[in-house]
């Protein structure tokens, strides 16, 4: 089984998530080649073939050209699977490659076995098993679903060249809004989810965070509703965190949020729904009304 793994490079740096692709290939027990539109000064330590195009000339976000480069490599490698990360780069690029090849695409894979792939659906509440019907298949892999693999070694580099930007013109990046809190460094995070009910209840969650000596986190709906500032958002479009203790209050556990925190050492979830997807990753799920349990816990901790 052969895989062509599409690595990611942004703002002049190789993204760590690229190594998850290696972990995925490893789990599949497949051979791999890597493709990267990046820089030869930022290559992963990897003993296989890297198809390398220069980001300086090809651009970091240039899907039409990147698609061409990938198709080039596909011609040479003839892989069974072309694997992307399910990221803003991957989900934008993968369908283009798949359509050009008329290959099946299976998105946001969380597990794989025997040619069948498991994906989440219905807001992470359910699962689907999908089998491709085509010889070549495009896959995108959920962030954090597969372990990072850093095999070490030196890659064999095959240069790819290409020009043009197709129909798109990349203007530039805009930095994220200034963060007044770096959740990435926090050891304890207590997150407010939509289940807290209303903005007035945020101080209750904050009180627990303080009682534990931690930081306040927020799920996306809570930030969108204006209850907490964006700098506290945990999830794919917020911050990815891995604290020692993560307390999810009234967080249902949508995939995008889980992806941002499931690497935490110990996850305590409080939710009135016993079947909430957060239960999937929680070490302890307390089935209770957040606004009853959290103040009680805070009070007990204060003693």
């Amino acid at each position: 089984m052969k895989t062509l793994l599409i690595g990611e490079y942004r703002d002049g740096k190789l993204l760590e998530s690229t190594y998850e692709l290696l972990g995925f290939a490893d789990q599949l027990g497949a051979e791999s080649a890597l493709l990267l539109v990046g820089s030869d000064s930022q290559l992963p330590a990897y003993p296989g073939t890297i198809y390398l195009a220069d980001a300086a000339t090809c651009g970091e976000y240039n899907p039409d050209l990147h698609k061409q480069l990938i198709l080039d490599a596909v011609q040479q490698e003839n892989p069974d699977y072309i694997v992307f990360l399910h990221s803003s780069y991957g989900w934008d690029l993968a369908p283009r490659v798949a359509a050009s090849l008329k290959a099946a695409q299976i998105s946001e894979i969380i597990a794989a076995a025997d040619g069948s792939f498991e994906v989440g659906c219905c807001n992470a509440k359910m699962r689907r098993s999908v089998k491709p019907n085509t010889a070549t298949t495009v896959l995108t892999v959920q962030a954090g679903a597969f372990p990072v693999l850093q095999p070490g070694g030196s890659p064999t580099v095959k240069k790819l060249t290409g020009t043009g930007s197709g129909a798109l013109e990349f203007i530039g990046y805009e930095p994220a809004d200034k963060k007044d809190v770096d959740l990435g460094k926090a050891e304890i995070i207590v997150t407010a989810g939509r289940g807290i009910g209303k903005k007035d209840n945020v101080p209750v969650i904050l009180a627990l965070a303080k009682a534990l000596g931690g930081e306040l986190g927020a799920s996306r709906p809570v930030v969108d509703a204006g209850w907490v500032e964006h700098s506290h958002q945990v999830g794919t479009t917020g911050q990815t965190v891995s604290p020692k203790l993560y307390v999810a209050c009234g967080v249902s556990g949508a995939i995008q949020h889980l992806a941002g925190m499931k690497k935490s050492d110990f996850i305590l979830a409080i939710n009135k729904d016993k079947d909430a997807p957060i239960g999937e990753v929680a070490d302890v799920l307390v089935v209770a009304d957040v606004m009853q349990f959290v103040p009680a816990l805070t009070a007990k901790l204060a003693r």
Partner: protein
């Protein structure tokens, strides 16, 4: 100018899902349906553009599915779309993203749409493929996950939302397709006069067989709830007792409490 917005009707995500008899998708009994949340932003953006461009612009909304999707179509018409296309398919959920894209592309081909709006993904299947695939099939410029949209004289300027809150600005020339992310705008609540006007707007029905000529490229073999994780402890009961249990667990399993 001709604009198109593609929408999908999905079940309300608060529902409890059970597999259907074939075991490959959800059973529709007892499910409440609504427009895919991402598509609401797409419709709103399309309507805003249509309002800005004024006379001479036509905005069509398209949806594939059984009769119940007409409700979502009507909502889009009430928000401001001019007319609609309902691709009648009682088994829409059994089609894979390639087929769905092919249906849309078959309709769109030669109609001369300048801009197509879609949601970034659907809340039920969530494969995030259809929008981009349609663009590829039709050779349209395309970008995804937009949280900012501007149009001026043949050029779309979009802002993409990347991980970590970073944004990327991109320009594309029409004909273009954009997939919309949550937070792109604030979808309007339809006013009553618009709801009433919508009742008179045309909904063209097309049988899916007239448009679909493609086989599925992938097959769903099973739809099931996730396997119960062995390691997790579920605690229920009196709040006071729960608090004590949790503190004991935190002391035991983490170094957080002393």
């Amino acid at each position: 100018m001709k604009l198109l917005v593609c929408i999908k009707q999905v079940p309300d995500l608060e529902s409890r899902f059970k597999p259907n008899t074939e075991g490959v998708w959800y059973n529709e009994t007892d499910l409440a349906f609504r427009m895919n949340e991402y598509d609401e932003y797409a419709v709103e953006q399309a309507v805003q553009l249509r309002e800005k461009l004024g006379d001479g612009t036509e905005l069509t909304v398209l949806s594939i599915g059984p009769d119940r999707v007409v409700e979502a179509i009507k909502k889009s018409l009430a928000m401001g779309c001019d007319n609609a296309v309902h691709v009648q398919d009682s088994a829409a959920s059994s089609k894979d993203p390639w087929q769905i894209s092919s249906i849309i592309s078959a309709y769109v081909k030669d109609k001369g749409f300048d801009i197509i709006f879609t949601g970034m993904q659907s809340q039920d299947r969530g494969s995030a493929q259809v929008g981009v695939t349609v663009a590829e099939q039709l050779g349209m410029a395309c970008t995804t996950t937009i949280i900012g949209f501007e149009y001026d004289n043949g050029t779309v300027t979009a802002k993409r939302e990347l991980e970590g809150g970073i944004k990327a600005a991109v320009k594309l020339k029409t004909p273009a397709l954009v997939t919309c992310q949550l937070g792109l705008n604030t979808p309007r609540y339809p006013t009553l006069p618009n709801i009433m006007k919508a009742k008179k707007k045309e909904i063209t029905a097309i049988a899916v067989g007239d448009l679909l000529k493609e086989a599925a490229l992938a097959t769903t073999t099973s739809f099931h709830p996730p396997a119960k994780k062995g390691g997790g402890i579920v605690l229920e009961g009196d709040v006071g007792e729960l608090v004590d249990k949790v503190i004991a667990l935190l002391k035991d399993k983490t170094a957080v409490l002393r």
